[in-house]
């Protein structure tokens, strides 16, 4: 039911590569993954950045891996997501302008 709702909005529909919808889908996917990592408490593991284990409950290798996952998703969500959204907006505006221009320059009936 929920998936059908989202499908009706076109969020899960396969989009053309680097089209505005494709960029927004990628931005959404990164945001959701980051949210999941954040809610799972992976932020605690980022202490590997100063050489301290994030948690004594997991081994160092796993802790480092979880930290790397969190850091990459975080950087993607604060750097990449806004870039993807901005680019999508620019493309949408540009496409609208091109469409308008085409309509204006089309044959008059």
């Amino acid at each position: 039911m929920i998936i059908k709702f989202w499908q009706s909005l076109g969020l899960f529909r396969r989009a053309e590569f680097l089209s505005p919808r494709d960029l927004l889908q990628r931005a959404s996917a990164i945001s959701v993954l980051f949210l999941v990592a954040h809610l799972a408490g992976l932020r605690e593991f980022t202490s590997v950045l100063n050489g301290t284990v994030g948690s004594t409950a997991v081994n160092v290798k796993l802790g480092t891996f979880l930290a790397a996952v969190y850091i990459l998703l975080y950087l993607a969500s604060v750097i990449l997501v806004p870039v993807l959204v901005l680019a999508a907006l620019m493309l949408m505006v540009w496409q609208r302008c091109v469409r308008k221009e085409e309509n204006f320059s089309g044959p008059r009936t």
Binding site: F17, D22, R43, S47, N50, T52, G54, I79
Partner: protein
């Protein structure tokens, strides 16, 4: 096909333009007014939140145990330095916020007493890295200036805020040990580890001696003057003009000028020789400090020195050569010398890459640890303690 290629090219161009717009704006998400990190007079919101987290660690033993266990797994020194920075921070906080002084003094006493108990019970190696046991100290009986200096400065800071008679003989004894060793050493260089001396530890120890003079009316000004003269002449890197970080007892350099200790050295020197301290800060700022796209950070070594990442520098991020250790300690330098622009940009980086975590009015940085957060707290509060000693106001 042609139209598809055009669409992809348009998409790529949009991404490039979006990146050009967004990247210079990114720091605006994290930039805050300086007063949020450091206030004069009084305490900034961040200082209060960081302090609340540390005070919680000292009222909840299980939480403290867990935090210390994590740090000691990497470096036993951090357990000790976390205590020192917290005591020095609380001393400044007590002078900035007199109504809360009783709580701060109580915590300072608790930390000092526990640290002294552990040193006595477990021996000095408890707070040192394992390699301290691999060789014998050249001067016997073995003493580490790292421990003696920081403990003396903790005791002195406590007494500057408010006299505690029980600590007077403890400070005198600690200072006498250091002074006696300085006098016996032909080069005035004392070991922190076997035949390994640190600039950081010498400056902290000399601060403690200066504070003991202020508290108890002794006079070691000649010793401090001679040591500074020797350091300016023999312990400065010729290329950068920066003080080297570690050396052997005969003065042979072990490591060059390292950001992870230089910023604190400049802060410590401020109590001993203001002009020299400012000169070292300005050189460090020029050689090590950077601001890129609004984010401040610091390198571990100047361009003229090649070094490798170590336990003090922390991991070094390639390309930008960002050292976590040096960047954290840069807060101390920027705060000491009122470098608002650099401090603000460092604070933006901290909120961007330090992964702050707030619960119930308490703040910790997940990418940091207890010692890192305590050093940040010290940067947010330092000033009144040095000021009181420098102006000679009555203890």
């Amino acid at each position: 096909m042609k139209s598809r290629i055009a669409k992809i090219l348009a998409g790529l161009a949009a991404l490039v333009v979006a990146a050009i717009i967004w990247l210079p704006c990114l720091h605006l998400l994290f930039a805050r007014p300086l007063s949020e990190f450091r206030q004069n007079p009084g305490l900034s919101p961040k200082a209060r939140q960081l302090a609340a987290r540390h005070l919680q660690l000292w009222t909840e033993p299980a939480l403290r145990e867990q935090e210390l266990k994590k740090m000691r797994a990497s470096n036993a020194e951090w357990d000790f330095m976390g205590r020192s920075y917290l005591v020095w921070s609380l001393a400044n906080m007590a002078l900035r916020d007199p109504p809360s002084k009783p709580l701060y003094l109580q915590t300072m006493d608790q930390i000092i007493d526990e640290t002294l108990r552990l040193e006595k019970q477990e021996g000095m190696y408890f707070f040192l890295m394992p390699y301290a046991k691999e060789r014998h100290y050249l001067v016997q009986p073995a003493h580490s200036l790292f421990l003696d200096g920081e403990i003396a400065l903790m005791l002195a800071a406590r007494r500057v805020v408010e006299e505690k008679p029980e600590y007077k003989p403890l400070l005198t004894e600690r200072v006498n040990v250091i002074v006696e060793r300085f006098q016996k050493s032909s080069r005035m260089l004392l070991e922190s580890y076997p035949d390994e001396c640190w600039m950081f530890d010498h400056c902290v120890a000399l601060d403690a001696i200066k504070m003991a003079d202020y508290l108890d009316g002794s006079d070691h000004s000649a010793l401090i003057r001679d040591w500074l003269a020797m350091a300016k002449q023999k312990l400065v890197d010729r290329e950068s003009g920066l003080l080297i970080s570690s050396f052997m007892t005969d003065g042979t350099p072990l490591a060059g000028p390292e950001g992870s200790s230089l910023w604190m050295v400049a802060h410590s020197l401020q109590l001993l020789d203001e002009d020299f301290a400012r000169d070292q800060y300005q050189r460090a700022r020029k050689e090590l400090g950077e601001i890129t796209l609004g984010f401040g950070y610091a390198h571990e070594w100047p361009k003229s020195w090649k070094g490798e990442a170590n336990i003090d520098s922390g991991p070094i991020i390639p390309v930008f050569e960002i050292s976590a250790g040096s960047s954290g300690m840069a807060f101390l330098g920027a705060s000491t010398f009122g470098d608002g622009k650099f401090l603000r940009s460092l604070a933006a980086t901290l909120d961007f890459a330090g992964f702050p975590s707030r619960t119930g009015g308490r703040l910790k940085y997940c990418a940091s640890n207890q010692v890192g957060d305590a050093a940040l707290l010290y940067a947010a509060t330092l000033g009144p303690l040095w000021q009181k000693v420098k102006t000679g106001a009555k203890p």
